[in-house]
Point group: C2
DNA sequence: GTCTATAAATAGATAGAC
DNA sequence: GTCTATCTATTTATAGAC
């Protein structure tokens, strides 16, 4: 039933998704949804998540032969996004981040936690002090790929995207001319 | 009245914004809104736009002393986003892009047109053929700044962000190791 | 546990007075 | 042009039967 919710939310967003539609997708009655989750909002919050597969993918990528940490993180994200079973949850969270505080919070916490940790492995900061890395996280990249669908991003292979994004994120981590 | 619409849409998104609320913000009656725009959808489409100030800002930035084309575009965007009068329109368009096709289309067309043109000035492609530049456009950057609000992005000055983003976009334009 | 029936609220849209 | 009043549809949510 949560899967049905994620599928609907991912496709149409929170507002345009009715509890009735979720129930129909799940093959059950609308009242049953309320019976379990109380309100639509609670169901939504329960549907929000970064798939558990994500940390796993990060670990996999870290063990690979990618050059820098940026490439590893980019690859891990692309893998999970392309994975059919993990896609709805990612999509729900990202799509809703634009209009729902809870969803934005999930993305933010994830970026603060998992991604930072993953980038930490194998990457050592150069200078001391409180460095600013506005793009250490990159949860908004799939916006271009899966929502805005600006060519050629949607039609570019994960491999190529990885090759493109990797060096860029590396540059974010080690800016050529730090302004701070 | 369009301004009121943009203000509401920018703040709460399409779904959570009622025509009644827009009317109230504009200081008029709800029926008047329908009288002019017919449906909520039509009003919404009319409210969608990339402010006219944007091309102007791009031109300004192009005339500046910024190093590369990436820096110029980054600076122009940040300027418009920080501008109070232009902010609601940008915010409405971006926020709605996640759930509304029309909004996504506005962003996409803008990226295809204005940004590409602005980047063209002073930048010459290296190889021939159909090059892939997945991030030539960067309309999704403000997602991090204005929606997800992941620290430290919201609290970083436009100047510093420009210094950070510029070299990155330059790298997108001239990848170190093209995979194509 | 699962569904039927329905309550209660809200929103989009229209007709018509002034 | 602008507002009052209202219609209609849809949705969330609940009460209660089986």
């Amino acid at each position: 039933m949560l899967d049905a919710a994620r599928e609907c939310f991912a496709e149409r967003g929170y507002g345009a998704t009715s509890v009735r539609r979720i129930a129909e997708t799940a093959g059950v009655d609308q009242a049953l949804v309320h019976h379990f989750y109380g309100t639509k909002e609670k169901l939504f919050v329960n549907a929000l998540e970064i798939p558990l597969r994500m940390p796993e993918a990060l670990a996999e990528a870290a063990a690979g032969d990618r050059v820098g940490p940026g490439s590893r993180v980019a690859l891990a994200h692309l893998r999970v996004w392309e994975d059919a079973s993990a896609h709805p949850a990612m999509m729900t969270t990202l799509r809703s981040a634009a209009t729902h505080r809870s969803a934005a919070a999930v993305l933010r916490d994830y970026a603060k936690g998992s991604i930072r940790e993953a980038l930490g492995k194998g990457h050592h900061r150069r200078g001391g002090g409180t460095a600013h890395h506005p793009d250490r996280h990159n949860p908004d990249r799939p916006l271009t790929r899966h929502l805005v669908r600006l060519a050629p991003v949607p039609d570019t292979s994960p491999q190529e995207l990885t090759a493109r994004l990797g060096p860029v994120i590396d540059l974010h981590l080690d800016p050529v001319s730090p302004a701070a």
